[in-house]
C-alpha cells in the first residue's frame, strides 16, 4: 500500500500548466495529503482567485493517482496562498528558466511605494525596471533589464 510520503513524491510529477518548470509541490499549492482506508484526500489552494489552471491541476492529480489509490481533490481558500510557500528549489528552477523569483520583502505600502528591486534572471544586474505590474499570467509582473535590455517575467510577491 502506498504511503503518504510516496504520494507527496508522486505529486512532484504534476507541473503547473502555466509555468511547467514548477511542480505543484514547488509552488506550495498542495496543502494537505490525508490517507484513510485506502482513500486519499488531497487539498489544494489557488494562487489567484481566477486561476484558470486549477481544473487542469485537479485532473492532473486524478490521472497521476489512477490505479494507485482512489482520490478526492479538495480546494480550500484559507489560509490564502502566498509566495512565501514557494520552495527554495522552486525559486532556483524559476531563475534557471528565466523568470525572476519573488523577493521576500513585502510591498510595504500599496500606494506610492517604489517597485521592488528585482535582479535580472539573465545577467544578474539589479539595474532593472518594472514595465507593468501585470504580466503574461496572473502571478507575474513584466520587467525589463536596463543592462542587457532583455524583457523578463517577475513572479510577483503575493502576501
Amino acid at each position: 500500500m502506498v504511503t503518504k510520503n510516496e504520494i507527496w513524491q508522486l505529486l512532484e510529477q504534476v507541473s503547473d500548466p502555466e509555468i511547467p518548470v514548477l511542480t505543484i509541490v514547488d509552488l506550495g499549492i498542495v496543502r494537505e495529503v490525508e490517507l484513510e482506508d485506502n482513500h486519499c484526500t488531497i487539498t489544494i489552494t489557488p494562487t489567484y482567485s481566477g486561476c484558470p489552471a486549477m481544473q487542469v491541476i485537479e485532473k492532473g492529480i486524478e490521472e497521476l493517482l489512477e490505479g494507485i489509490i482512489s482520490v478526492t481533490v479538495k480546494s480550500t481558500l484559507s489560509p490564502a496562498w502566498t509566495t512565501d510557500w514557494l520552495s527554495e528549489n522552486g525559486r532556483n528552477k524559476l531563475r534557471e528558466y528565466g523568470i525572476a523569483p519573488p523577493e521576500h520583502e513585502v510591498d510595504k505600502s500599496v500606494l506610492f511605494a517604489a517597485p521592488t528591486v528585482v535582479p535580472c534572471p539573465l545577467c544578474k544586474s539589479s539595474n532593472t525596471k518594472m514595465v507593468s505590474q501585470f504580466g503574461s499570467t496572473a502571478c507575474k509582473a513584466h520587467y525589463q533589464c536596463n543592462e542587457c535590455m532583455e524583457p523578463f517575467d517577475y513572479f510577483k510577491c503575493l502576501k
Binding site: P46, Y48, S49, G50, C51, P52, T76, L77, S78, P79, A80, W81, T82, D107, V110, L111, F112, V131, S132, Q133, F134, G135, S136, A138, H142, K156, L158, K159
Partner: protein, 252 residues
C-alpha cells in the same frame, strides 16, 4: 427575512460587484491603449471574475435551491442583480475606466479588510484571498489617476471630468439596509458607515497627489443594491448571458 435570506442577499451584492465589473473590464481585451494595459486589464478582469465565482458558489449554497454559481451568473434578470450602479457604468475612455476602478478599489480594499474579520468563515476566507489581489488593483488604478491628473493639460481635464461624472455613484457603495442590520448583529457584515469617512480621506489623498479637485456636487444616484439599474446593465447582460440563453445548459 430570515438569516439565510439576508446572507444570500449580502453575498450576492459582493459577488455581483465583482462579476459586473469583471465583465466590464474584460471589454478592454484587445482594445487597451497599449499592450501592457491590455494585459493589465485582462488580469484584473480575471481576478474579479474569479472572486465572483467564489462568492456566487457560496451564495448558491446559502440559497439551498440546487442552483449553481453559473445559474446565478447567467440566468438571472436585471432586477435580480445587486451590484452598485458604479460598476455597470460604461467603460468610456481609459480615464473613465480608471476613475471608476479607483473609486471601487479604494472601497473594496477597505471592505475586504473588514470582511476578513467576519464571523462567517467562508466570507472571511474569500475576502482574505481577494484582498491580496485588490491591493494590486488599487495600486494600478491610483497610479493612473495620479499619472493622468498630474499629466498633460488634456489628460488632467479629461480625468477630472471622469471623476466628476462618476462621483454621483460613489455613495451607493456604502448603502445599507435591514440586511446589514441583521448581519451586523451576528458579526457577519462589515459596518459600511464606519468605512465611508476612511474611503473619503483615502480618495482625497490620491486626488490631491493627482492635482485633481474633489467634486463639489452632492447629488447621489442609487438603486443597484435593490435591483433598480441603469439601462447599461441590460446591454451588458445581453452579451454576458447570450450563450446560456441561446444554448441552455451548454458547458465548455
Amino acid at each position: 427575512m430570515n438569516r439565510e435570506q439576508a446572507l444570500f442577499e449580502y453575498t450576492l451584492r459582493i459577488a455581483d460587484d465583482s462579476l459586473i465589473l469583471g465583465h466590464r473590464v474584460s471589454e478592454w481585451c484587445g482594445h487597451g491603449p497599449i499592450l501592457e494595459e491590455d494585459i493589465a486589464m485582462t488580469n484584473i478582469a480575471l481576478d474579479l471574475v474569479g472572486q465572483a465565482t467564489n462568492f456566487l458558489e457560496y451564495a448558491a449554497k446559502v440559497d439551498g435551491k440546487g442552483k449553481t454559481a453559473d445559474d446565478l451568473a447567467f440566468l438571472r434578470y436585471d432586477r435580480d442583480y445587486r451590484n452598485a450602479l458604479l460598476v455597470e457604468q460604461k467603460n468610456g475612455h481609459f480615464g473613465d475606466t480608471m476613475a471608476r476602478q479607483f473609486f471601487f478599489d479604494v472601497f473594496r480594499k477597505l471592505f475586504f479588510e473588514g470582511l476578513t474579520k467576519s464571523t462567517d468563515e467562508t466570507l472571511a476566507a474569500i475576502a482574505e484571498k481577494s484582498l491580496k489581489e485588490t491591493k494590486y488593483h488599487l495600486k494600478h488604478s491610483s497610479e493612473w489617476v495620479i499619472r493622468l491628473g498630474d499629466g498633460t493639460e488634456e489628460s488632467h481635464q479629461k480625468i477630472q471630468e471622469s471623476i466628476n461624472n462618476l462621483w454621483r455613484f460613489t455613495e451607493e457603495l456604502f448603502f445599507s439596509n435591514d440586511v446589514d442590520t441583521m448581519l451586523l448583529e451576528s458579526g457577519i457584515a462589515v459596518d459600511l458607515n464606519a468605512l465611508y469617512p476612511l474611503w473619503k480621506s483615502q480618495v482625497a489623498h490620491v486626488l490631491a497627489e493627482a492635482t485633481l479637485e474633489i467634486p463639489s456636487g452632492t447629488f447621489q444616484q442609487k438603486g443597484g443594491r435593490t435591483g433598480f439599474h441603469s439601462e447599461h446593465l441590460g446591454y451588458l447582460l445581453a452579451e454576458m448571458q447570450y450563450m446560456q440563453r441561446a444554448y441552455p445548459g451548454m458547458e465548455w
